[in-house]
Amino acid sequence: MRFVDEYRDAGKARMLAAEIASRCEPGRRYTFMEVCGGHTHTIYKHGLEDHLPENVVLVHGPGCPVCVIPMGRVDDAIHIASQPDVIMTSFGDMTRVPGGQGSFLDAKAAGADIRMVYSPLDALRIAQANPDRRVVFMAIGFETTAPSTAMTILRAAADGIRNFSVFCNHVMIIPAIKAILDSPDLRLDGFIGPGHVSAVIGCEPYEFIARDYGKPLVVAGFEPLDILQSVHMLLGRLASGRAEVANQYARVVPWQGNRTAMDVIRRVMRLRPHFEWRGLGFISQSALMLADEYAAFDAERIFELPGVRVADPKACQCGEVLKGVLRPWECKVFGTACTPETPIGTCMVSSEGACAAYYNFGRFSRDRVREATRA
């Protein structure tokens, strides 16, 4: 326990909060985006916004991989799962993600063989145990999980497992950040950079944000004090006019990332020309597909997919929430038609989605209701 107190210490939090307040220029408003859903979770759980001055605003970014899966891709996966000889596998997070024709849970109830796994290697084992079935792994996630998918494909190739394939939906964080920076909707002063993604890609890929857009980014850990310290570091850089990338989470994130993991991704995967992100639309070169050498393991080449683009439900404003333009409670259906039990949008599905995190930690205060109704 003594270790943990270091990151939770209420006295330290108060001290940092005071330093944060003293670093703010009077009358200036600071808007920082926390890119990663894990950070969103910490911010709401510990009520960190209550520790920040009113002119420091945290907005939530697109870094929840479940939240950015467009409905059409869920439909495609269910289409594959409906083939009689297929066992579809994916992470438990996918279970309730709504497609245009329902979720995995609905498809399972209708008879499809869909199994949740902890690791893509578990999906590979299912393939080995069921040689007369075709086993497909629906791969989702940013650079944190892409190396695992790539390693699993290398293993399948090495062991000559022919009834295993991957429906690849891996996305990359840098193009998403760039799309947000280029979007006219939002003016940001800096970023709290993702922790685990950075353990893979390192800190260098963020340098364009400082160089080309003149904004600082601090890679942050997941404890409350990590986030407060990162805000403090961002304000310090703004005060002295230094747009630069810094690493607050060096205890996990090496500056150069995990080179083995990046090499494995490069070996097995290629950039897609474009990919649709829920809420953000099509972003070019923002996602990964299997390289031609591994076409035999590519579900998109093995199965014929409908590939129909499905528009989000009209009432759903996940797109605005994912871009940080709307805060969760400002969405028209938040907490009424859309709840974690009956999600309309993906931000309410994943526990790291901004809406679910906000809903679950009951931070829907009266002020916020007033703010929302005024808007």
Binding site: V4, Y7, Y118, S148, A199, N258, R259, S351
Partner: protein, 90 residues
């Protein structure tokens, strides 16, 4: 899926150099350590495990801090541990 879970290395797999046995909150499972091939891992080391793969080597104090954070998450961590319990990587 997004949770990085700290595991303590308790053994290696003699047949597969890229597999190792880890202890995660009392759950012992095989994981893949191929992404940390440069780290020269040994028993007693701590790693952050994502979907069955060790992604970063961490200190014991960081491992304890992360475990405490995860335990505070409640359901999301319980679900992840349940999924890990059913995992059978070989």
């Amino acid at each position: 899926m997004c949770l990085g879970i700290p595991g303590e290395l308790v053994g290696t797999d003699e047949e597969h150099a890229d597999l190792a046995l880890v202890d995660v909150s009392g759950v012992r499972r095989r994981i893949n350590v191929g992404l940390l091939a440069d780290e020269d891992l040994k028993a007693g080391d701590w790693v952050l495990v994502h979907v069955g793969f060790a992604l970063s080597k961490i200190s014991e104090s960081e491992a304890q801090a992360v475990l405490d954070y995860l335990e505070g998450l409640g359901q999301a961590y319980d679900d992840e541990l349940d999924a890990l319990r059913q995992s059978d990587i070989s």
